[in-house]
């Protein structure tokens, strides 16, 4: 990595301006913002309500919408996280990336700014969707809101870093979209966002445990379940009898994010 010329202050300023550009893009594209918010809401209200009729009391966790709620929060932050990867690929194709690459700053700073931007947008959108907790029969107390927001922030940053890593590894828009489209659905299904993972065949259990989203969904599910007195701590959602602690899950998610960010920055900094 080439050294930045102006030390930490200059690098921070670069991170900030890249972050700021992401914010401006989102705020100037309200239509797209509304659409990305609409998808998780539809999941919760349409799919949730529909399946609630089919599974009246899912896995002893009450209404299916209550079960689905943490998964919907994950889907909410997933969209803007993917948006960051897409914007890196787009900047490369549109040429703007070169304007950044030739600047006298570390490429890691550029990437950090991008990821921070994506994570900020994702967390804010997550908080907006969190307001729908009532429709999922989750009473939203200030304590729950704070816990979920903090977890959303960690999960968002990790997901953003993961898509950024994917984005710097491919050079074409189509490859990126096809690759993500291929990976995302199975990852979502295996995460326990849609159905409980207990009692699955061993080969599926292994895949579930390997899926980083499993830890993210569980992180978001815990405070929700812990908050509902009538619901046991939803162990049925977790694939195995062994259940890591919240701290361990947070650590796994954060470590994944940091690793992805470092690898992406390395790859990004390599001269061609």
């Amino acid at each position: 990595m080439s050294p930045g010329p102006g030390g930490a202050r200059h690098e921070l300023r670069a991170v900030r301006v890249v972050w700021q550009r992401e914010m401006m893009h989102v705020l100037r594209n309200r239509g797209r913002l509304a659409l990305t918010l609409l998808q998780p809401v539809l999941y919760l209200l349409v799919v949730g309500t529909g399946l609630a009729a089919l599974v009246p009391d899912s896995a002893g966790a009450g209404d299916y919408r209550t079960y689905l709620f943490p998964g919907v929060l994950l889907m909410t932050v997933q969209m803007p996280a993917i948006g960051v990867g897409a914007s890196i690929v787009w900047d490369r194709e549109a040429g703007f990336l070169r304007e950044m690459l030739v600047a006298p700053v570390r490429r890691g700073s550029l990437l950090l700014g991008k990821c921070a931007g994506g994570a900020t947008v994702a967390t804010c959108q997550g908080v907006l969707v969190m307001a729908l907790a009532g429709t999922a029969h989750v009473p939203l107390s200030p304590g729950l809101a704070v816990a979920l927001t903090a977890e959303l922030a960690v999960v968002s940053l990790a997901l953003t870093a993961l898509t950024a890593m994917a984005a710097v590894s491919v050079s074409r828009q189509q490859t990126f979209q096809a690759g993500l489209g291929f990976a995302l659905m199975p990852m979502l299904f295996l995460s326990g966002a849609m159905f409980p993972l207990a009692g699955l065949p061993p080969w599926l259990t292994v895949l579930c445990l390997a899926d980083p989203l499993t830890y993210a969904v569980d992180l978001l599910r815990r405070p929700v379940a812990g908050h509902l007195a009538h619901v046991p701590a939803a162990p049925a959602a977790w694939p195995t009898a062994w259940h890591p602690s919240t701290a361990a899950e947070l650590a796994v998610t954060a470590a994944l994010g940091v690793t992805a960010l470092v690898l992406a920055a390395r790859r990004f900094a390599r001269p061609r």
Binding site: S2, P3, G4, P5, G6, G7, R9, H10, R13, A14, R16, V17, R21, M24, H25, R28, N29, A94, G95, F96, R98, E99, M100, L101, V102, A103, P104, V105, P271, R272
Partner: protein
């Protein structure tokens, strides 16, 4: 080191670059020796030597795919040379890329402004990336927008701009941090002739008002005429280098087209009295002489056949390219 101090360093343009002191004098802004770049299966640049003096407008002329963009990418530290050395604005491109990046500006072949930001926001983004002190940044953003005639549109979203306006904004952006060398890769590609002339007007203003070296690539021969010096590159190698006038003079001959009342008799007379071989051509009689302008009066006086018209054409850069590579630049573009 504070941002303020750094920027002051930058604005002292003729200060000798400490990093490259061994290889280059302060009056040389771009120096390349034996620069090569190979990609798997392709040798894009095969040993390029360049010397560009400070303050000069240097044109890098060649057909598409000749290695122009790859050479620029190496000089701008966006690509690592496979072999050879280069210093730009006194810093070595491989040993000290960060110093090179601080001292150069870049206008890319394709448009790289952000359409979702306004003109002023695009420039402020650049100022932050280059660590310009805030007050300096504000002043220079206004100055540069003025220089390229976009001050009135500074708050408009760039996506509403025409191609020529975006180009001008990129030139303003490239100059914002007061670089010593501004690289322009095909600055007028894709623009109509009128807009192209307009971009050149602004580049001429830049040359007059800023002590900056302009290094540009083009495959338009007319554009090379604007340069102080040009180098012709073909197939990854420099085939000739010099001022446009000198290169044309090196061809040695002007083209003369002659119309007379009796072209057959005139042709014989040219052979007998001047020792010149003329060719019959649909345009008239075609011949080549070292100094066309001086030849015309002598011709009219001594030919003995009434002359209807004489046209003298100085050699063009197209002739230079043809002379050096054996084909015209348009043919060279077509074969790739």
């Amino acid at each position: 080191m504070s941002g303020e101090a750094r920027f002051t360093d930058l604005s002292v343009r003729d200060a000798p670059g400490a990093a490259g002191a061994g290889l280059t004098a302060p009056s040389v802004s771009v120096l390349a020796r034996g620069l090569r770049k190979s990609y798997p299966g392709v040798e894009a640049v095969r040993g390029v030597d360049l010397t560009v003096r400070a303050g000069e407008t240097f044109g890098f002329l060649g057909p598409n795919g000749a290695g122009k963009s790859t050479t620029i990418a190496m000089l701008c530290t966006l690509a690592r040379p496979t072999a050879g050395r280069a210093t730009v604005a006194g810093a070595d491109v491989t040993a000290d890329p960060a110093a090179v990046r601080r001292r150069i500006g870049l206008v890319f072949q394709d448009l790289t402004v952000d359409g979702d930001l306004t003109a002023a926001e695009n420039l402020r983004f650049h100022a932050d990336l280059y660590g310009l002190p805030h007050r300096t940044a504000r002043r220079r953003v206004a100055e540069m927008l003025d220089l390229v005639g976009l001050h009135g549109r500074r708050h408009s979203l760039v996506r509403t701009f025409s191609g020529g306006m975006k180009r001008r904004l990129e030139i303003a952006r490239g100059l914002l941090h007061a670089p010593r060398v501004l690289f322009l890769d095909e600055p007028t590609v894709g623009l109509d002739p009128q807009t192209r002339a307009q971009v050149w007007d602004h580049l001429h203003r830049v040359r007059q008002q800023r002590a900056v070296t302009l290094f540009l690539t083009t495959h338009h021969l007319e554009e090379a005429e604007h340069c102080d010096r040009i180098a012709v590159i073909d197939d990854g190698r420099i085939v000739t280098e010099g001022t446009p006038a000198a290169l044309k003079a090196a061809i040695g001959t002007d083209r003369v087209v002659l119309h007379t009342t009796d072209d057959a008799a005139a042709r014989t007379a040219l052979g007998e009295r001047f020792g010149l071989a003329a060719r019959r051509d649909p345009e008239g009689l075609l011949l080549h002489v070292p100094d066309g302008a001086a030849f015309v009066p002598v011709l009219c006086a001594r030919l003995g056949v009434p002359v209807l018209s004489v046209t003298v054409t100085r050699p063009s850069l197209d002739d230079v390219f043809l002379h050096c590579t054996g084909r015209t630049i348009r043919d060279a573009d077509g074969t790739r």
